[in-house]
């Protein structure tokens, strides 16, 4: 018992491990404490992992998004990506804070004309009100033809400006729907 205890004691000594083990510089396994040896990374115990892409600049670094109990618990670089090789910059590394920020809005907010405050609004009511306003603006500003009788088929009463963090599939539906409703003034950060 005693001999075994002594051996455990010596092997628990970082310098011994550094000299005899695979970590001669003493920066990895040799320096590990009993406490850190007992820890488990939350990436290992996550319920699921999604392979994603950083939402900031256009380098397109690979991200791994770890979820436990319905919450994002970690976002880290994807070492498989030939673009980023697992690295993330300060912004990419802060992506978990981005998606879990307490400042994120999760409720629809509504400001009446001339009001000084926000109000609550149900999402389906908001969608319906927006649809009514689109149709009204379109009717009020519709142009069938130009002065020479050539077709115009449009409204210049509606504008849109999109960010460039929208997905291709989203941009596709946005352009398709606006085009079909005759809304021409559809723009994007890509102009800017």
């Amino acid at each position: 018992m005693f001999r075994l205890g002594l051996r455990t004691f010596i092997e628990g000594w970082p310098v011994y491990r550094q000299l005899t083990g695979t970590d001669p510089l003493g920066r990895g396994a040799a320096a590990q404490s009993a406490r850190s040896a007992g820890l488990t990374a939350r990436t290992e115990t996550a319920d699921s992992m999604a392979r994603s892409v950083c939402p900031y600049c256009a380098v397109g670094c690979g991200q791994r998004v770890f979820v436990s109990d319905g919450q994002v618990t970690q976002i880290e670089g994807d070492p498989d990506s030939p673009i980023s090789r697992g690295r993330l910059c300060p912004k990419g590394s802060a992506s978990k804070s981005l998606v879990t920020s307490p400042l994120r809005q999760t409720k629809v907010r509504y400001r009446r004309p001339y009001s000084t405050e926000w109000e609550d609004l149900e999402l389906d009511v908001a969608l319906d009100m927006i649809a009514d306003r689109v149709l009204a603006a379109r009717d009020e500003t519709w142009e069938d033809v130009d002065d020479a009788g050539r077709p115009l088929n449009r409204t210049l009463g509606i504008s849109s400006l999109g960010g460039a963090t929208l997905d291709n599939e989203e941009n596709y539906l946005i352009k398709k729907l606006f085009t079909a409703m005759g809304a021409l003034q559809i723009e994007n950060q890509a102009r800017i």
């Binding site: 999604a50 994603s52 600049c57 256009a58 397109g60 690979g62 994002v72 990506s81 030939p82 673009i83 090789r85 910059c89 300060p90 912004k91 804070s97 981005l98 920020s101 400042l103 994120r104 809005q105 999760t106 409720k107 907010r109 400001r111 004309p113 000084t116 908001a126 969608l127 927006i130 649809a131 306003r133 149709l135 009204a136 603006a137 077709p151 088929n153 210049l156 009463g157 509606i158 849109s160 400006l161 960010g163 963090t165 929208l166 997905d167 599939e169 989203e170 596709y172 539906l173 946005i174 352009k175 079909a180 409703m181 003034q185 723009e187 994007n188 950060q189 890509a190 102009r191 800017i192």
Partner: protein, 880 residues
Amino acid sequence: MAEAHPVGFQWVMEAKKRGAKVFHVDPRFTRTSALADTYLPIRAGTDIALLGGVVRYILDNELDFREYVLAYTNAATIVSEQFADTEDLDGLFSGYNPETGSYDQTSWQYEGHGNHTRARGTGKERETAAGLEHESHGAPVAAETHRDETLRHPRCVYQILKRHFARYTPEMVERVCGIPQEKFLELARAWTENSGRERTGVLVYSVGWTQHSVGVQYIRTGAIIQTLLGNIGRPGGGILALRGHASIQGSTDIPTLFNLLPGYLPMPHHAEHPTFARWVDSIRHPGQKGFWGNSRAFAVSLLKAYWGDAATPENDFCYGYLPRMTGDHGTYQQVLNMIDGHVKGYFLLGQNPAVGSAHGKAQRLGMANLDWLVVRDLFMIESATFWKNSPEIATGEIVPEECRTEVFFLPAASHVEKEGTFTQTQRLLQWREKALDPPGDCRSELWFFYHLGRVLREKLAASTKPRDRALLDLAWDYPTHGEYAEPSAEAVLKEINGYEVATGRPLGGFAEAKDDGSTAIGCWIYSGVYADGVNQAARRKPGHEQSWVAPEWGWAWPANRRTLYNRASADPQGRPWSERKKYVWWDAEKGEWTGYDVPDFEKTKPPTFRPADDASGPEALAGDDPFVMQGDGKAWLYAPRGVLDGPLPTHYEPAESPMRNPMYGQQANPTRKVYDHPVNRMNPSPPEEHSDVFPYVFTVSRLTEHHTAGGMSRTVRPLAELQPEMFVEVSPELAAQVGLAHLGWAHLVSGRAVIEARVLVTDRLTPLRVDGRVIHQLWLPYHFGTEGLVTGDSANDLFGITLDPNVLIQESKVGTCDVRPGRRPTGPALLDLVAEYQRRAGMTADRRVPIVTTDAAGGDAAGNTDERSAEAARDGGGDA
């Protein structure tokens, strides 16, 4: 690059480790400069002078890659004798019309082409940003050209180039840019020594080049250098645009832009494209050489994707449903129209123009004059709260109780709460898997627009109005899933890829597109992303398990090609230029092109192939024409059409500059898009008087720790803590001159706004000796606004609105200002200060900024631009 694209910069460091020499050109010393071999400070807005100097250095010393230049470029092509250069006309090209502020390009044509091309001005192209259509292909020209392979003909492109750039001497570079001659020569030597058969050099740029009133020509100058040196279509070469947003490339490919339909098809113009046939012919140009000849199939397939069964050959595939452009409908014109009360409703989708667009006040005043505004974002951004928390509340210009705009804020799903593709900066589509459902009312744009369309169609179901047919006939039956009825992004991607209408079979690529309505393709350049029914963008074979080209990671358009025009990596006979720079080559035994990448060429067309005289489309391309989307199969050193401000780049001063142009009488881009509007007064520049009221040059860029308008970073605690405050960087010399104290306050004044910032005195900025005087430059981050965890004044408020004529991008990388110590005034006193500066600078309401500042070419004398009325601009001048 190290600051704004740090992870991409690892590859520059890899190259440096292997012996590459890294040069960094920037008005401000940054983390990139610290890691470069040589840093060149430059006066903001003078890059064409620097790059033009490199072009001259190459030509004067005959350092071009002659075999490449002769075989693959238009250097030998002879240009019309009617062409007159900026050398002859003091900074203007032939064909300038001072009344419309635009060029008639007829005299720029290749010899013998003038009679085939309808003489026309380019005002209309400017209004509709038609240059953007050329993102995937060159402007049309006839395939047959007169050439002088000896390059001695005085009107061959090579000789024209030589004359045009003759005055871009090292002395002139120093005089214009403030770069010492020896530093310039170090750059020119390194660039040329590291290009050619055995070596390639790469050029990397970002919005420091594009956000200028002559931005497209910056890139053109870079392209001329890279083409002369044989650095296009070859490994380690190219011109790399570092784009700043996750899918900004995707946002132009599948555009939410007023002038484009998916795949760079033009939105129809009421006068140019009255019929389907005219529209299609304007894209494909019958008889035209190159791959664009198939565009009828792409156009028909798009209309089939939009209108499904309703689109038939008999009704021109519902072409009549498309709305028509009549002029400039861009975001800045829209904002001025909002101020003038012409716009009812506005959608902002993950975009924050109150902070991110030029002239923040104009943006906010526009929003305050709408019937309704819909903001969809992750966070409560400045563009959602302008009615209660904006600089104009403090000045009394916006009063909440008097502001009628009804605002809907709808929370959005984050990038991990939805699935879909981003297209990153190298045209690579990468699919994101969804990690979890969005919280509360948060939804994707896919959800919002699918369901908005569904509700609109339900409300109109009984309508008999012709205008509603386009909505009711729309193919809008996407499968949905889950508790929120989320539409399937994969189904949308499949439509983008295209499919056979009869069977639903996904297409393998755009070569399968048909013009009879039997295929539907949402975006032809993306065709192949869902080949074999497999989501190719979701491929994630680890980088270390495949070649360095990594073709099985994601999917690049077109056809999963990683380097465009890679046929140019082989010599005319199809052999690699060198073993070291081998990439794509002709395998004579197998009779096909092969290599590390997907060849950008018809697979079995041999290098020796010569087309028949009457061939058109792809069949008209010879086996040694690598630039397959160009009308003559050649890279264009000289652009006979398609670039609205000239066939060659020319140094013009920024729209706001403290200096008279040292190179030409013409001060600024004579074709830039200007908006004479009471809200948009531009600071005077020489030769106008009073430019000394705004004696300093300012520029803006990003911090590593923040993102664009701050909506995704000032709201995030770790990032807000790292960069908590708005600041301005000034040189010790300027600080001493103006009396600014390190960590004290300063305020900056332009003709539009006053903003304040904490002062950082640093030698990262250096005064430049330019044309016999000292120019001081200031630098600001543009991320700050009034919302979020950390707040500050917005740098973009200082800018006015002036746009590049080709793509209508704003000049927001350079302007003039004054700087004063201390904090800015508040309330009405702030408006008084701006008014005082406007008065001193002569910026009266009836002043018109002079556009033409030389009397050469019969152009009007300075100041006489009365003909440039708003009506003329809106109609595209007298071009119709």
